[in-house]
Assembly symmetry: C2
Homo-oligomer: 344 residues x 2
DNA sequence: GGACAGAAGGCATACGTATACGCATAATAT
DNA sequence: ATATTATGCGTATACGTATGCCTTCTGTCC
């Protein structure tokens, strides 16, 4: 098996050995029907023998298709060095698998929303399309998204699905999920349910979750109280602070629906400090089902999003644009996972 | 700013507008010193104006350098869909940042060790080099690594640093870290310290940690007992099972050093089930300092590896090979993080 | 038996950039 | 004033593949 460390073999080398022309090699390896079975098998055998692989740069240059997708993470306002939001990591796992299944390469990078990340991916042919991931102020997003659309760049964003969105968006059914959480808490007999998380147009996903909660309450004839909503971004600290603020307001509450698990975990810490027992005094429901959610004490009831479906849908939505197909459904159902933080 | 959605601008377009030749544009944008300052600035201005970016495929094809690094994760034997080992995620964060700082693209993918992943990256010019990450049976690794070396592929592996390794390796000082853990537990007066984790040549990192622990004990005149070592791979379940096995053996122990935090967390669950109190009956030290480590009750004492340094070193080691520099230091110190699981 | 269609593959070329080389002009040396 | 060198840039070309178009051959049908 002495493979001489000569220069890498090219399709010309294969062609010579197979007694055909270079284009035939290219066609054979791409499975073109205009190459006879016999020829193709001969070529494939030789290619394998030489350990040949198609030069990705040449191939992409010629075909103007990189078969690569870029995944951009936008960090939370608190970019704590190598601390990544666990939810997005789970998403990453799902996306990589989906890309692998389709033979796509996946490029990943972390960005600050306010940087000029869009330029790098605009015409460089690095990737055929982008997947944008990350909570973040949507109003900041907008101008960047408009530029992408203007340039004809293919992209999908994970977020709140809404008609008015710029570009393609895929996301969980946040309203429905909020309703699930609300119904669950109401069934437990809780009536004064607080919401920890932003609820304005800057964070539409959170706003949707809140809206779902309100819908559930209204269905029981309970009017949502503004005093029971506290702003919070998705971070443990923010959850802690929000719960403290809630307590400080002096309004009664017997349940919390947190816009994310990290917020919920921070809130549980604040409740414990205040001598409040979970779930006895306050039942709590989070969102995301991050790994840590089952490790807290008590373990956290939460909403589990369909990660596998999300990866599939995101990748599919990008490819749909590349291939000029219409893109399919864009909303995914979520599921309630009941644990002890909301036990009877 | 009506940018016509015409075809993407090329270096020829820039050249035409600047009244120079295409090669001059290329040189100017790459900062070659053989272009006058005035010309370069003119070119840069036009390029920015047109929102031009270098075509990555063409550039890579011509220069035979992709300025891309591929990060390959090898999954644990239990590939639980989108559940990724948190430690590697933290590493990912560090590596992406390092790549961004150097203007490198990062390609990532998950692999099963036993697949033919090496072929895809061998001659395809997808990436200039590989970073290999993942616990896994080293004996399985070997044949793949040898093939990579044979092909002249640039790569670095994260793992146990040892003279006999195939190819470049970067890793924490696992022996030293094991010693840290051991010294800490000994200082607390614990004398019967168990180790949960494999300790053979299949998992050299774990073996190193165990060896460090043994060294600490021997320094105090305590002979390590084989009965106090239980095999475990890095997973919560494995830790749970290992601790159960340890208890079932009926040997006395007053401390546990777990080869990873996941193992430690599983072990704590088993201890709780057995009615053993942490840290009163059993002090416990983990390894990795994953986010969940501070959320357990009691919070877990653990060893924190230098993630930032790891990212830097890994990327640097790959580039060193690409640029034919000798590669620098390959071992990183680790730090003990004391929490309540090993309180007095 | 000639026209025609389909199969299989060759020929030429384009994708967009980077670099070896060469050639002026200007600056400096002798 | 001439020989020498550096500066700044143009000319030509190569990187390795994919694809439009054309050719050849075989088989088929009236």
């Amino acid at each position: 098996m002495g493979r001489q460390p000569s220069s890498k073999p090219t399709s010309f080398d294969i062609a010579y050995l197979a007694g055909v022309s270079q284009p035939t090699v290219s066609r054979a390896l791409r499975g073109s029907r205009s190459v006879s079975l016999a020829t193709r098998q001969r070529i494939e055998a030789i290619a394998r023998e030489l350990n040949y692989s198609v030069d990705k740069n040449a191939s992409s240059l010629r075909s103007q298709r990189s078969n690569t997708i870029a995944l951009l993470f936008f960090e939370d306002p608190t970019p704590d060095e190598s601390n990544i939001n666990p939810f997005f990591l789970s998403m990453l796992g799902s996306i990589t698998r989906q890309c692998a299944a389709r033979g796509l390469d996946l490029l990943i990078s972390f960005q600050k929303m306010e940087d000029d990340w869009h330029v790098r991916y605009q015409d460089s042919h690095r990737a055929d399309g982008l997947i944008l991931l990350g909570y973040g102020d949507y109003t900041l997003y907008k101008s960047r998204l408009e530029q992408l659309v203007g340039h004809g760049t293919h992209f999908v964003r994970w977020g709140s699905v809404d008609e008015g969105n710029i570009g393609a968006t895929v996301g969980s059914d946040n309203v429905g999920a909020g309703r699930l959480a609300g119904d669950h808490l109401l069934e437990l007999g809780r009536r004064r349910i607080a919401f920890l998380g932003h609820a304005d147009e800057h964070y539409p996903e959170f706003a949707d979750r809140y809206q779902g909660l309100c819908a559930a309450m209204l269905a029981q004839g309970i009017a949502p109280e503004p005093a029971l909503q506290v702003d919070a971004l998705t971070a443990e600290d923010a959850g802690h602070a929000a719960a403290q603020a809630l307590i400080a307001r002096g309004v009664a509450f017997d349940a919390i629906f947190a816009a994310s698990d990290l917020i919920a975990i921070g809130a549980m810490r604040a409740l414990a400090e205040a001598g409040l027992n979970v779930p006895h005094d306050v039942a709590i429901v989070g969102f995301d089902d991050i790994p840590a959610a089952s490790l807290t004490s008590p373990p956290l009831t939460t909403i589990m999003q369909d990660m596998k479906g999300a990866g599939e849908l995101l990748v599919d939505a990008v490819l749909a644009q590349v291939e000029e197909r219409p893109l399919p459904r864009t909303t995914l159902p979520a599921r309630l996972v009941v644990r002890r933080s909301s036990a009877g």
